[in-house]
């Protein structure tokens, strides 16, 4: 019996190994943006918004045959346990980069030559798995903006705690656990578009983790789909 999973296989926050934290997605939260979404993923509270495609400015940035994607992932100073300096950290710069790459993999960039698509993510409150929650929010915001995409992207981490591969680490599990692996996924094209990890994984564990991440991502996808349908076609439920 480990310290993060009890003898019945229950994690400290009451989840089983393959359970996600509660997720809530709201579309169209930033009036001025061309597309936007708000996600709560565990204690993560994140807004993503999109401007564009718009004319590249300064112009020398523009590419003749496709759009450029710019991405800023940023954490509000009050989003973390200790106040975070407003200046972008190296971590935020790296996450901006991996989010941008994921977006480049899914947008039909060739449809928007000489343009820029700006993607802005603000983490109002952070918890484990914030980059995965962010990518899901960005994907929702892109869908909301009407930009052509090959698929949606969803994100969800897996990890290793008490020697076991489990889905969707929270902050404590991320900190105390043995490994964390954020994965973003295009569910219809069945491709992984973001993958990072640290911690020790045997080859078997790695494979198990990837399969669990895909499983988790499919669940996230259902929630995202539901939010988009609710927004655009309405539903029985009150939102």
């Amino acid at each position: 019996m480990g310290k993060l999973i009890d003898e019945n296989g229950i994690r400290l926050d009451g989840r089983r190994w393959d359970e996600l934290r509660p997720i809530k997605i709201e579309i169209g939260v930033i009036k001025n943006a061309d597309g936007s979404a708000y996600i709560e993923f565990g204690k993560n509270k994140i807004i993503a918004a999109v401007y564009g495609p718009r004319e590249a400015h300064p112009k020398h940035l523009a590419l003749p045959d496709k759009a450029i994607v710019r991405c800023r992932y940023h954490m509000a100073p009050f989003s973390t346990e200790e106040r975070k300096s407003p200046q972008p950290s190296r971590r935020e710069i790296e996450i901006s980069l991996v989010l941008r790459r994921a977006m480049e993999s899914v947008i039909f960039l060739e449809e928007y030559p000489r343009s820029i698509i700006d993607v802005f993510v603000e983490v109002l409150q952070s918890d484990g798995g914030s980059r995965c929650a962010s990518i899901t929010a960005v994907s929702a915001a892109l869908a909301d903006s009407g930009i052509s995409m090959k698929d949606l992207i969803v994100g969800c981490a897996v990890g290793k705690i008490d020697g076991q591969i489990v889905l969707d680490l929270n902050d404590l599990e991320d900190k105390e656990g043995e490994g964390d692996m954020p994965v973003a996924y295009m569910p219809n094209l069945d491709k992984i578009v973001l993958l990072q990890f640290d911690g020790i994984f045997s080859e078997e564990e790695f494979k198990k983790a990837i399969d669990l991440a895909i499983l988790g991502n499919k669940k996230v996808y259902e929630i995202l789909k539901k939010a988009l349908i609710e927004k655009y076609f309405g539903t029985v439920d009150e939102k």
Partner: protein, 273 residues
């Protein structure tokens, strides 16, 4: 941001706005002294010591308070610190570029800071742990989520509401030297309220939206304390303002501040921190 070309408002629309103003009406149907609908949600960021999301019409901001320990300034060894910082998030408007705070963000920070500081809202003397050495530092960070005019009042309301609902773990040194942490409310003494108006021609418009601000002559933000005294003010805009207009704005704003204060009080009471 400020020296960029401002978004072109179609001339027609502007003429319509000015024609309506002559009948004391506004494009969105408000009277000249009406605020747009205001919502305040407190306690939205659980990891902060206090927080509030405020909407005024489509303008939306969120403020979070963090209380940490720090060293007091040498000339005020018996006072805690207050740091106010505002950021226009890059998605708040199509015109914002990411980057360090520009002059507009700095102006918002400083106007909010002065209103809170000069009203003596926070009892900074009660935030000393060891005089001259260790004090509590109150960080108020304001993120502007969506811009549709009157950022000043939205920022101010969010900061005030967040502070009014702020709690923190206070270090208590007991008689026997034992240290204990005790959850306390931030010691506040009043509810300062800022009210922003603009002048277009001869008309005074309270709570301007972005379209109105884009044709403003002048802007004036006035902050009032509980007694109805002014405690901070800032003129904006690039036209002069007459003594008479100024005095009229003071009267209008003072009344408006009272209304807003009652609203904030109700929100805070219901929040039951």
């Amino acid at each position: 941001m400020s020296i960029k070309k401002s978004p072109i408002i179609e001339n027609l629309r502007k003429m319509q706005m000015i024609e309506l103003l002559s009948k004391e009406k506004r494009l969105d149907g408000r009277s000249l002294t009406d605020f747009r609908p205001i919502t305040i949600k407190v306690g939205v960021i659980q990891k902060s010591n206090g927080s509030a999301e405020v909407s005024i019409g489509n303008t939306k901001v969120v403020a979070g308070v963090k209380i940490e320990t720090g060293t007091p300034f040498p000339d005020t060894p018996n006072q805690g610190l207050l740091v106010v910082n505002a950021e226009f998030l890059p998605f708040s408007s199509a015109l914002i570029e990411p980057g360090p705070p520009d002059e507009d963000a700095i102006e918002v920070s400083r106007v909010v800071d002065r209103g809170i500081r000069e009203s003596q809202m926070i009892d900074l003397n009660a935030l000393v742990i060891e005089p001259g050495k260790l004090v509590y530092c109150v960080f108020v960070d304001i993120s502007i989520l969506n811009m549709d005019g009157n950022i000043f009042d939205a920022a101010f309301l969010s900061a005030v509401s967040a502070l009014l609902t702020t709690t923190f773990e206070k270090k208590i040194v007991k008689g026997d030297g034992e240290i204990e942490f005790q959850k306390c409310k931030l010691p506040t003494r009043c509810i300062p309220i800022s009210v922003t108006s603009i002048i277009i021609g001869d008309n005074i418009l309270i709570d301007p939206n972005e379209e109105e601000e884009s044709v403003q002559d002048s802007r004036l933000t006035l902050t009032f304390n509980d007694e109805g005294n002014l405690c901070a003010g800032q003129k904006g805009g690039s036209m002069g303002i007459s003594r008479e207009q100024l005095f009229k704005i003071v009267e209008l704003s003072k009344a408006k501040a009272e209304e807003l204060r009652s609203f904030v009080k109700k929100v805070i009471e219901n929040a039951q921190i």
